[in-house]
Each structure stands twice: as structure tokens, then as C-alpha cells.
């Protein structure tokens, strides 16, 4: 298993207050792939993502067991370089979370704390990130405006671009389109399809159709349990588990 590119999750379990949030989940995603994770609310999707980029460190009382490897190196250990991991595994939150700064400063946040301060270099990175997020046309002439002035859809694409500024190897998206209109959603989905070339993407969504549209592989989580994990087409056409079938056909959840 060592030396393998991408993200491997092996028997990952997360407990809090004597409750199982995640039960022995094993998944993997490689560069060039989009992994869709679907499931009803409370299935542990968000917990899983927060664990993957070590944001779960902030939540007290979580007990995590299992193994997670990035390019073959474990990222769960106490001695792992948490800051480095977070820079390699970018996370986009469900609601747009611009910091109360200008568009420019939002984008420059990650590189700056990493030590890149040259404006020229920042601008170059910004252009490519914004283009990847399909936002360049709309904001390139007003980078110094407050990010809060953007519309919801633009803000979410800004957050995507902000994560891309880190040039992550893995991109985690937590229901990135939950509050967005269909046009913004389409733009983000379009962006993801292109981005897949350079990185592995994990897309958590409670929109089953979105997973079927963009994901290469899909996992179905239910109450912390991995019910099914298969190539998207297979999972949506011939689900092996009855619960998967019920969920994707809209019979519950």
C-alpha cells in the first residue's frame, strides 16, 4: 500500500460520547478521480471530511481509530505535520465562508501564511486559481473589494479558488452547492471536472443527482456505516444493497 498515490482510508472509525459517528469505513481516491459521497444528513459525511484534513483536531472528545494515508504516508498520527497536511488536503465548506477581507486578501491568505508574500507571484497564482474556479472574468478588475460584496455563488467559487491557491493534492468539498442556485452549481461542477486532472477530489453531497453527474466513484454512507462503494455508473444502475437502491430512488432520506 505504500507509495500509492492519492488518499487511502482504511477501517476508519470515529466515536464521540459513546456514539459511533463512523464505523470502520474504507475508501480510496486517486489523482484524476472524483469520489462522490452521498447519504442522508447525520451519516458522518462531514465528520469524515473534517477528519481527513485534521480539522477534527478542533472538536473535543472525538476518538479516531483506523488508518488514513496520503501518498502512502499516514496522516492521522500525533506526530504528523498537521499544518502541512491541511495545505495538501484542501477543504471547501458547505456555506460560503469568506473572511472579512478583500477578495485579494482572501485568496492570498493561504500562500501568505506559507511565506509567499511577493505580489507578482500571488497575482499569478490568483489568476490561475480564479480561472479554474470560473470566477476570473467576474472579479479580476475588483480584487480589492470586500469579499462580502460578492453574491453567494461567487463567494463559494471564491472559497474554492482560495483553497486552490494552496495547490492541494486532494480537494475535499463538503456539500459545496447546498445553498446555491442551479447556474452557480453548474459552474462549480464544471470546474471540478476540469480540476480532476490535477488532483483527487472528494465531493460530499446530499444531492444524489450531483454525484451521478460528476463523480467517478460513489460511496453511500448511512448512519456512519459504509453501505456501498462502487464506480458511479455501477452504483446507480445496479446497486447491490437494497438500502442504496431505496436512497438513490428517493424512497427515503
Amino acid at each position: 500500500m505504500t507509495g500509492q498515490k492519492g488518499l487511502q482510508i482504511e477501517e476508519l472509525s470515529i466515536r464521540a460520547d459513546g456514539r459511533d459517528l463512523l464505523r470502520s469505513v474504507s475508501l480510496e481516491v486517486r489523482p484524476g478521480e472524483i469520489l462522490g459521497i452521498i447519504g442522508p444528513a447525520g451519516s458522518g459525511k462531514t465528520t469524515l471530511l473534517r477528519c481527513l484534513n485534521r480539522l477534527a483536531d478542533l472538536d473535543e472528545g472525538l476518538r479516531i481509530s483506523g488508518r488514513v494515508f496520503l501518498n502512502g504516508a499516514s496522516i492521522l498520527g500525533r506526530d504528523a505535520d498537521v499544518v502541512g497536511i491541511r495545505r495538501k488536503i484542501g477543504l471547501v465548506f458547505p456555506v460560503p465562508t469568506p473572511l472579512p477581507l478583500s477578495i485579494f486578501d482572501n485568496l492570498a491568505f493561504g500562500p501568505r501564511i506559507g511565506g509567499i508574500t511577493a505580489v507578482e507571484e500571488l497575482r499569478r497564482m490568483m489568476e490561475s486559481s480564479l480561472k479554474s474556479a470560473y470566477l476570473w472574468e467576474e472579479v479580476n478588475d475588483r480584487l480589492n473589494e470586500p469579499a462580502a460584496n460578492l453574491s453567494g455563488g461567487q463567494q463559494q467559487r471564491l472559497c474554492l479558488a482560495r483553497t486552490l491557491m494552496l495547490e492541494p493534492e486532494i480537494l475535499l468539498l463538503d456539500e459545496p452547492c447546498s445553498g446555491l442556485d442551479p447556474i452557480s452549481t453548474a459552474q462549480i461542477e464544471e470546474a471540478l471536472k476540469v480540476l480532476r486532472k490535477d488532483m483527487a477530489i472528494v465531493l460530499v453531497t446530499n444531492n444524489v443527482k450531483q454525484a451521478s453527474r460528476v463523480a467517478d466513484k460513489t460511496a453511500f454512507l448511512l448512519l456512519g456505516e459504509l453501505v456501498e462503494f462502487a464506480p458511479t455508473r455501477e452504483l446507480f444502475t445496479t446497486p447491490r444493497d437494497k438500502r442504496t437502491e431505496d436512497y438513490i430512488t428517493g424512497r427515503f432520506g
Partner: protein, 296 residues
Amino acid sequence: MIGIFFVALTALCCLIIVALVAVILGDIAWFGWGSLNLQFLLTAPQQGMTEGGIFPAIFGTVFLVLLMTIAVIPLGVMTAIYLHEYAPRKSMVIRWIRLAIENLAGVPAIVFGLFGLGFFIEFVGRGIDRIFLDGQLAFGQPAIIWAALTLALLTLPTVVVATEEALRAIPVSHREVAYSLGATRLQMVRRVVLPQAVGGILTGGILAVSRGAGEVAPILFTGAAYFLPYLPNKLNDQFMELGYHIYVLATQSPDVEKTKPILYSTVFVLLVLTFALNFTAIWIRSRIRRRLRAEK
């Protein structure tokens, strides 16, 4: 029907309190405004304080609270940051620190005065004299630095509480974004938390200054002087101060009737100073609270 009587009674309580405040402030404003002029603010007392102005007292007060601020703001802000950003929530350490802050806020002002004398002057000051100055008397006596440090300890809870309130107003999501972009805790604090907490820190600082400028008991034996022919210009100088000046004029004046206009005007100046500071703080705080409500 009895109910209405009691409700009216509680309204009467409010009315009495408001009336008392109005009477006190009205009296001071009415008599204080009279002999107030620019010369009064800019000259020193003369003729055994029965004439002249209060410039040295204003200068001393400003100098004193400035030194106090320099000491208390970093200490208070760092304490608040530790409590809110570093320590695990609901841990024992936090409970102990909060309890200590609460208790510190309740310690009588005069006890701080004793502490300033016993610790800063007799222990620290004498220690400095003995070790660095061959026993020559320089810091082991009442001085503005010791008064300022004593007041800093007294106002520490004010700064901590105000800063913490501001920290609470910052959405958790901002912190998580910073972490998810690879910030260390300190980077997160410096780039996300502090810029947004400036208002709260300012509020705390202003409230502390307003409190510090009005407290007399802690500086009675730590540095305030009855009268000085010069302005303090070293850390170990004594100083004149508005509140102490009021106390002196009110209780130890050779000619009470003659001093009265000066006394009233001095009180007026101190009140205007503390109220101006308080209003600014309340204004900033209400803006922070409005933002907090908007984001919830």
C-alpha cells in the same frame, strides 16, 4: 389591582435612581462649569491651591493611565486569547483562571493600594535599588510606575472580559477556514482573530482607562502627591492626579469656601473625562453586539 401598585413601585425605584443621577450630575455640571476656562486647564495650582489651575493633575492622570494601559492591554488581551483560543473548553485551568479574574474584580481598591506598597515599592522597588543601584534610593519609594502597575492589576479583569466578548463575536467558521488553509494557531489568531477583535480590545482599554483615571485608593500610597512644583518626567517620579486632587481639595483645603469653585471644576473635568471614555466604549461595544446578533 394590587399588582399595578407594585409595578408602579418598581417604576418609582427607577425614577428615584434616575433622579439621583440627574441631581448629582446636574449639581456638578451647574457649579463646575462656572469657573472652568482654558487657563484653569493649563496652569498649575497657586496660593496653597486656592487659586490657579489643575494642569499638573491632568498631566499626571494622563501619564498614569498611559503607563497603566501599556501594562494592562497586552496582559489582558493575551489572557483572553488564551482562555478563548488556546485552552481546552471547560477545562480545570479555564475555570481557575476565570474564578481568579472574577475575584480580582471584587478585591477592594484599597487592598490594591496596600499591595502596591507591599509588593511593588517595598519588594520590587527596594530590590531594584539594592541590586542595581547599590542601595541608593530610586525605585523603593512611591512613584508613577508603581501606581500605574497597581492600577493595571486592578483593571485587568475589565480588559479580559471586554476582549473575550469580542472574541466570542467572531464566527467559528472564520477560525476553521484559517486552519483549513494551513494556518497554525498563532497565525490564525494574528490574522483572523485579532483584526476582528480590535473593537473589543479598544472597548476594554477605554473602560480600563476610565476606571483607572477615577480610582484614588490604590494610588494613595503608591505615588500620588499632594502638590508638586514640577511635572513627572521619569518612571520613578511622583505625580499629581485629578481624583487625588479632588480628595485633597475637599478634605485638606485651608479655605474651603475659597477652594469650592476650583474643586467643583476639577470634579467636572474628571467626570467629563471618564464619561467621554465610557460613552466611547459603550458605543463601540453596542456596535460589536449588533454584529454578533446579526451573525447568529
